[in-house]
Each structure stands twice: as C-alpha cells, then as structure tokens.
Amino acid sequence: MNETLLCDAILDLIEPSLDGELAADEESRLRIHLAGCRSCAAEMALAVRIQRELRSLAPARQGVVVPFVRPARPESAFLIAAMLALTVGGTIFLAQIRARPAGTAQVTAEPQDVARATAEARYALAYIAKVSRHTSLDLRDGILRRRIPLTRTD
C-alpha cells in the first residue's frame, strides 16, 4: 500500500483509539505503525493533547432554565395599562441595548471570570478541531496548536 494511503488509514484510527473503540487487532496495527512513523506519532500526540485539554477545560456547566410563568389574566383596566407600560418600556430598553455600540459597554469582570472565559473560548476552538478530526476533515488549526499549552512529555 502507498505510504500516504497507509498513513491516511492510520490517521482515521487515531480518534477511535482515543475513544477506546478500536478492536484489538486494529489497535495493534495502529501502535506498530506509530512506532515507525514520526508524522503519525506526532498526530497521535496532538490528538491526545487536544483530548486532554478538552477534558480539563470542559466546564460542564448546565444551562439555567427559567420556568415560564403564565401571566394572570388581566381583570381590570389598570392591569392592562400596566402591561402596556411594561411592554413599551421594555421595547425602549431593548432598543437602547441593541443600539449601543459594541465598544462602549462598560463591563467589569474579576480575573477569575476572564480566566474562565478564556478557558471556555479555548474549549470552543478545541471542540471545533475535535469535531473536524472526528469526521476526518483534517480541521487542524495552527492557531489552536499554539494556543493550547504544550505538555512536556520528556
């Protein structure tokens, strides 16, 4: 088999291997190839690093579900007027938010908030790389490689 084709076939085994989905003979074939192919071994190392980063960064934050409360049926003109006032006021408020230039927002955040946001942003980018890798799209991101801190193995 052509060496490039062989490497392509091997690269397809990396992600299933990390997910523990390979049969023993395929795992053995992968390991034998990796032992003799520096390029594929580097791909394996990158995949391991991405998976490790994903696991360490995964915020596992569940969404907050706000229960929907059905408004009470208006019984009087006062209630209708109040709802109208809220509607108009809310619309004006939303319009002001949407019209505000992006750069003018005054936001204060604690360092840990920024660190968390950084980790989440990195997670998102790493996830994109993972999705593409899993689907054999070869979506390897040079930026991502630099962004994820290299883990020394020696």
Binding site: P59, M83, R146
Partner: protein
C-alpha cells in the same frame, strides 16, 4: 363585546411584536439558540455563552501571552457552544426532526453550506454567514451517535484574509472557496 375583542387583539399585537423582535439575534452571524431549541438546556453537558465585552477582556488579557489568540478574540462578538450527550447509537433519533429543522433554518436565512458530511451515522454541518461582503458568522452542527451532539456558533466580522488564513491553517478547501468576492456582495 366587540370592543373587548378588538382591545385584546391590539394588546396581543403590542405584546407579541417586541417579544418576537427581542428574540431575533442582533447580529447577522448569530444563531437564535432559543428559537432553534435544538437541545433541552437542562440536559446539556456543556454550555458556553461568551459575548462581546468579556471576549474583549479575554483578548486584552491574552495579548502578551498569545497574540494570535488575542487577535482572533478581538474580532469576535460572541461564542456559543451547546453540547448534548447522546446515549446509545439511537440517541440522536429524537433529535432528527430538530436537526433537519435547524439545517433548514440556516439555509433559509442566508447561511451558506460549507461542509456537509454524513458518514456511518455521524453528521457534520459547517455553515458560514456573510453580510456586506464580510464573513460574520460560523455555525457548526455535529452529531456523533452514542457520544454527543453539539451546536457551535462563532459570531464576528471576519475579513476574507482572516478566513483564508484560518481556512488554510485548518486545511479545509471548502472554507477557502467560500470566501466572499472582494468589493461586493456575493
């Protein structure tokens, strides 16, 4: 009686219009996650919602350590990620209708399909949104039966050079082909 029906209709219109307007994303490249309602939010394994101000702070803090990352973040308005765990190979089946509806929504709202992969039950969709000759949004929908499904939305004005650079580094030929033509709308 007729008067109260009329008043009720007017009231309903007054209430519904701003509410409908409010759920529309302000940015062309933003997906309306609430409207798409792809995954049940209380079952998500990961949910990330980063908006402009915090992204700018991330960019500022990363400038010294990682200038490339900082530059990328500076151009983004929002990052949204939802990851939903799928149990068993048939775990994605209940989502089938919503996935199709979401893909249809993307195509009906001017998103361009860049990558569509369906292989052994796995599905990956990558869509790009352009506005005024600029890339303003990236949407990735991924389904891996037995593992998880994810919806990722990156919002921001990405100039063609940046998309090309990222596209080349990502080695996705389709992404490079999707660059808007210079100096005008596609």
């Amino acid at each position: 009686m007729r008067c109260s029906i009329f008043s009720g209709a007017v009231l309903a219109l007054l209430l519904a219009a701003p509410a409908a307007w409010a759920v529309q994303p302000a940015d062309a490249g933003a997906l309306p996650f609430l409207e798409l309602d792809l995954f049940p939010r209380d079952k998500l394994s990961v949910e990330i919602n980063l908006e402009g101000p915090i992204l700018r702070m991330v960019s500022q803090f990363a400038q010294n350590d990682d200038p490339e990352f900082a530059k990328l973040m500076a151009g983004l308005k929002a990052i949204h990620v939802q990851v939903f765990p799928l149990k068993g190979k048939a775990g994605a089946e209940p989502l089938r209708g919503k996935i199709d509806r979401s893909v249809r929504w993307l195509e009906e709202h001017g998103w361009h399909s860049t990558v569509r992969v369906r292989d052994k039950g796995e599905e990956t969709y990558i869509y790009l949104k352009e506005a005024d000759g600029m890339m303003v949004g990236l949407a990735i929908l991924s389904v891996q039966p037995g593992q998880e499904a994810a919806l990722i939305n990156i919002v921001g004005k990405l100039d063609p050079a940046q998309i090309g650079r990222v596209g080349r580094s990502l080695n996705i030929p389709q992404l490079q082909k999707a660059q808007p033509r210079p100096g005008g709308k596609p």
